[in-house]
């Protein structure tokens, strides 16, 4: 079973990298980009076959390591 974790800076936390990308897009002539947020995607290949258990386990991984919940939020998708 595969899982995909999307980690983003929480809403309200300034994302300087996203801002830099927004500026660069503007410089390339892409007008109308009001905001850019940059995050990361982590794909996991799991031995677990039960969807609910897999989701619970991945959430535990996010809390412990994959995300820093002081500044980041995460979303888990079981694929």
């Amino acid at each position: 079973m595969k899982a995909r974790v999307t980690v983003m800076l929480k809403t309200g936390v300034l994302d300087p990298q996203g801002e830099a990308v927004r500026h660069a897009l503007g410089g390339l002539g892409f007008a109308g980009v009001n905001g850019v947020r940059q995050g990361k995607v982590i794909e996991l290949d799991l031995a677990e076959t039960d969807k609910a258990r897999a989701e619970a386990e991945v959430k535990a991984m996010c809390e412990k390591l994959l995300a820093n919940t002081v500044i980041e939020s995460y979303r888990v998708e079981i694929l």
């Binding site: 936390v13 300034l14 300087p16 412990k64 820093n68 002081v70 500044i71």
Partner: protein
């Protein structure tokens, strides 16, 4: 008094930190990240700067979960002293020994220069050798030193006098110009600037040596 300096793969200030402790009169032991326990009788653990585990995932995140990490947390839980510098500060926040987090510098650039720090409190074994409000010259060298914490957390740090150092001229966007903070029991210090890089006149200054000597003096009396 005994200091243990931790080395992770990618640490690069571990030897400098060990020398800074030694110069101040500490017995120093070096500890590897795979060690599961600290040597007997360690009074302070130094978590050095560098790029532990290549800064993969987040700065300090993997190091915080390493085998020695559990021993460092247990040391702090027993009331032991811990000093985290630069990447070491990031590691201590990831271990949740200190609140908040260190984000990418607001200017996105790696900042590497001497700068002026203000001693925000002299009420800790680490900062007792300075006067409150004293300005000291210490270098910074980091890409992710932009300290952030929620409004409630910041108020708690301020109310409990736990901000150890602030920048006179903020180089990274850090909230309230914070350069270093203390734990609630004032025995864990995390700071982005490098006091271990100013302990000898040949390094361009000696303002950092005061920290290591004061810590030794304070613990020897305790």
């Amino acid at each position: 008094m005994k200091a243990a300096v931790v080395t992770f793969p990618g640490s690069n200030c571990d030897r400098d930190l060990a020398v800074a402790f030694e110069r101040a009169g500490w017995d120093v032991v070096r500890v590897w990240h795979k060690d599961t326990a600290l040597p007997e009788g360690v009074d302070v653990v130094g978590v050095p700067g560098g790029f532990s585990f290549g800064d993969y995932l987040r700065c300090g995140a993997i190091a915080a979960q390493s085998p020695i990490g559990a021993a460092v947390k247990a040391h702090a839980a027993r009331g032991g002293y811990v000093l985290g510098i630069c990447n070491g500060f990031q590691v201590l926040t990831e271990m949740q020994l200190l609140p908040g987090a260190l984000m990418r510098n607001a200017g996105l650039k790696f900042v590497c220069r001497m700068l002026t720090l203000r001693v925000a409190t002299a009420d800790s074994a680490f900062t007792a050798g300075y006067g409150k409000g004293q300005e000291i010259t210490v270098p910074v060298a980091h890409h992710d030193g932009n300290y952030t914490i929620g409004a409630d957390g910041l108020k708690q740090l301020q109310d409990q006098d736990r901000i150890a150092f602030t920048y006179a001229d903020n180089p990274n966007g850090s909230v309230a110009d914070i350069a270093g903070i203390l734990s609630e029991n004032r025995r864990v210090l995390g700071m982005m600037p490098h006091p271990e890089r100013v302990v000898d006149p040949l390094q361009g200054g000696t303002d950092g040596a005061v920290l290591f000597k004061a810590l030794l003096g304070g613990l020897a009396l305790a």
